[in-house]
């Protein structure tokens, strides 16, 4: 399931952030850990935030919802060697399994949007990020933030459906920027944004269309085969050596026997 965010429809009520905190039992009292330019950024108790932008002439008040974009080719999942972050094939959500996590935080570094955060103050810390309410989605429900949105700024559906709808909107309404953020960004994402203000002015990161995983795929994909071949080679070598040794010992014994 994908989500389409129509930035022009958000009034900044932050109902989505409250729904997220309630559903995921995040701490309401936790002070914001990251504040940039007066805007609260994501942290371990804020899986989604609303950021306010006023526009150049202070006449375009816009609110931008920020959370994990759930990439089609998630860099965090590819960086995770213990498979604690996995792309759920059915729902498309990039899901974190704390039981598998070893706490290396490679995912924090890998993410092109700097989304995953870490519970720095916990004794047994976990990574934290939007799970796109994967369990609700399994029941056929929309993510809770989408369900809580009253103005229609958030809608959920299949990615094809929403892309079609988004294209219809930006093609028919001249106010919109002719770009769907998330359609091609680092290979595309489940979260799609449309806006009437250029995305760069709303704090969206300009990223390449190439999936992060593509840069390493060409050679990293050969690693398992190479490792297996190498292991096979070493085993063969060991077997060969073993045999040579055994034969030599047998020969030696034979020769000794003859001498006696």
């Amino acid at each position: 399931m994908a989500v389409l965010v129509d930035i022009t429809k958000c009034i900044g009520c932050e109902g989505c952030t409250v729904a997220c905190k309630r559903y995921n039992q995040l701490n309401f009292k936790a002070k914001p850990r990251n504040v940039k330019d007066g805007r609260v950024e994501l942290d371990d108790n804020r899986w989604t935030v609303i950021q306010e932008f006023q526009g150049k002439d202070k006449d375009k008040l816009r609110f931008v919802k920020k959370q994990c974009l759930h990439c089609l080719e998630p860099a965090c999942a590819s960086a995770c060697f213990s498979k604690a972050i996995q792309k759920d094939k059915k729902t498309g959500a990039v899901v974190y399994y704390p039981d598998l996590c070893v706490g290396c935080r490679y995912c924090l570094v890998a993410c092109p949007y700097s989304i995953p955060k870490y519970q720095w103050e916990e004794q047994f810390p976990q990574v934290s990020k939007c799970q796109m309410c994967s369990e609700r989605q399994t029941n056929g429900d929309a993510p809770v933030c989408v369900a809580a949105c009253t103005t229609g700024a958030l809608t959920s559906g299949t990615r094809e459906e929403l892309l079609k709808k988004a294209h219809e909107i930006i093609d028919s309404d001249p106010r919109y920027v002719k770009h769907i953020y998330g359609e091609h960004e680092v290979g595309g994402a489940e979260w799609l944004y449309i806006s009437d203000v250029p995305f760069e002015e709303l704090g969206f990161k300009t990223v390449s269309d190439t999936p992060v995983t593509d840069y390493t795929k060409s050679y990293l994909s050969k690693v398992p085969g190479f490792a297996a071949a190498w292991a096979l080679f070493l085993t063969g070598l060991a077997v060969y050596n073993h045999r040579v040794e055994k034969n030599r010992k047998a020969n030696d014994e034979d020769e000794q026997g003859k001498e006696e």
Binding site: K9, I11, R22, N24, K60, Y97, V144, S156
Partner: protein, 495 residues
């Protein structure tokens, strides 16, 4: 030897756990994903497109001077949206995308409807307590008519108990230096507004219908949505600010205190008053008319902090010279009250005699009907058609009609909150909100009946203030201190 492990055994353990780990993963035992342990209410099950009556919440900017919200208490029940949209006609009535701000008229009806206490007024209690403790400051307080019939509820008294004089005692015990009556200022407002209305009726006919301007929620609503009717608004300040300006000019001069050292506090049934006092227009000679506003609920908090129980406080009288009030000033707190008071004095201004008994108990403008209509025949002026409207969604419907078909009324009273100030956003919350409003209205009209003087122009202290300071209604000095201008806010929401 036993605590040492052979290389072979070590490799066995490592390889074994690796195989086990891989097996666990391959069979799908990866544990639960994080999150999803909490609770959201039933409205939010499903795709989010199921048509439920109430959902979501209103937007409250961090810069909002009147109200704030504690997210931890918000249960997303949607009651605030109901109040804002269906009662006040604000939510959903401005276009998206937003321009400069999210519309809010600060009425506080969302506060009244919020069942979990998440939305509250922005508290001025600590600031007022600090001012009281500051010996260099002369702290003056005024009490609005609607608070006198509701404060008792916060101290366990039955709904509709009149505690005006007890409140004076409590405020004096709390350390306020002078206690004045906003009902006095309501009389002052009526003097100005009735004079203005008669003037408009006879000379400036393009400013008819005359729209009242004592409700800050309504005024901001008009500025947002009906800027073309702004010139019809009465230029009178609200009673609160009239008294504030009078205190910092006439009173300061009279008692010889530098107005800069006066702190004006008001006890209001209203959250929009907190926005109103911050308006740039509402200052004279670089002095803010008002400094702090406490809602009825906040006053209860302040008194309880000071350990004052309203039940045990002796009655006291308001301070002179801004403390006398008439029945006309007292009924300001109920819908229709301003109209009734204004008509009484307009009648006097037009004829020179006090109005007949039926105008002193003018039932057509009383009660909770959404829009009330009445006609007053004033000799010399003719018959005046009047409408009284409360609840801004009702106002929207009425004004859309006025815009389309013109006004058949010469005078329209608007109150943002249902029932008028007695149902304001700063009032005590009641389980039985409608019953509470009825009882408060009854109490207010009872105060009118028992008062010695029923008309604003009969107020002795009003006459004194005019004689010694303002001269006469609409004089140059009155215009300076008691009248104001309005700000077109239409372009902040609309293209």
């Amino acid at each position: 030897m036993s605590d040492k492990i052979s290389r072979r055994n070590f490799l066995k353990v490592v390889a074994g756990s690796g195989v086990l780990g891989f097996g666990v993963m391959a069979t799908g035992c990866k544990g639960k994903p994080s999150g999803g342990e909490g609770w959201v209410s039933g409205q939010y099950e499903g795709k989010g497109d199921f048509p439920v009556n109430l959902k979501g919440r209103v937007a409250i900017s961090k810069l909002n001077p009147s109200i704030e919200r504690d997210d931890e208490k918000c249960i997303l029940c949607g009651q605030c949206v109901d109040a804002c949209k269906n009662v006040m006609g604000v939510y959903g009535n401005f276009p998206l995308p937003l321009k400069q701000e999210v519309a809010c008229v600060h009425c506080g009806q969302c506060v009244m409807q919020c069942p979990s206490g998440a939305i509250t007024e922005k508290s001025h209690v600590q600031k007022v307590l600090d001012a009281i403790d500051d010996d260099t400051k002369h702290v003056v307080v005024q009490t609005a008519p609607a608070t006198k019939v509701s404060l008792g509820e916060e101290f366990g008294m039955p709904q509709g108990t009149s505690i005006g004089k007890k409140m004076v005692g409590a405020l004096k015990a709390a350390g306020f230096d002078s206690v004045f009556d906003t009902c006095f200022a309501a009389d002052l407002t009526i003097m100005e507004e009735a004079a203005e209305f008669v003037h408009r009726l006879t000379e400036k006919k393009d400013e008819i219908p005359h729209l009242t301007s004592c409700c800050p929620g309504w005024v901001k609503y008009c500025e947002y949505f009906y800027p073309e009717l702004m010139h019809n608004l009465s230029t009178c300040k609200s009673p609160q600010n009239m008294l504030g300006a009078t205190i910092k000019s006439f009173y300061a001069n009279k008692v010889g205190i530098d107005p800069a050292n006066i702190v004006n506090v008001s006890i209001m049934p209203c959250t929009a008053k907190k926005f109103e006092i911050a308006r740039e227009e509402l200052q004279v000679d670089d002095q803010r008319d008002m400094d702090f506003v406490l809602t009825t609920r906040e006053l209860a908090v302040l008194l309880k902090k000071k350990g004052i129980n309203l039940n045990n406080v002796p009655d006291e009288e308001y301070d002179s010279v801004l403390g006398e009030s008439t029945g006309a000033g007292r009924i300001f707190g109920a819908t229709g009250g301003v109209t009734e008071a204004a008509v009484r004095t307009a009648y006097y201004f037009a004829t020179g005699t006090n109005p007949p008994a039926d105008l002193l108990s003018w039932t057509p403008v009383r009660g909770m009907k959404a829009v009330k209509e009445a006609t007053a025949s004033i000799p010399g002026v003719g018959s005046v058609n009047i409408a009284v409207c409360h609840g801004l969604e009702n106002a929207r419907k009425l004004l859309d009609g006025v815009k389309a078909n013109g006004s058949k009324w010469q005078f329209i009273e608007f109150m943002a909150c249902p029932g008028g100030c007695i149902g304001g956003g700063g009032q005590p919350k009641a389980m039985d909100a409608i019953g509470a409003k009825q009882k408060r209205i009854e109490a207010i009209y009872k105060e009118d009946v028992v008062s010695e003087k029923r008309c604003s122009h009969d107020n002795g202290e009003i006459q004194f203030v005019y004689k010694n300071f303002f001269g006469k209604p609409l004089s140059e000095k009155a215009e300076k201190y008691l009248h104001t201008t309005f700000v077109d806010r239409h372009s902040r929401l609309f293209d």
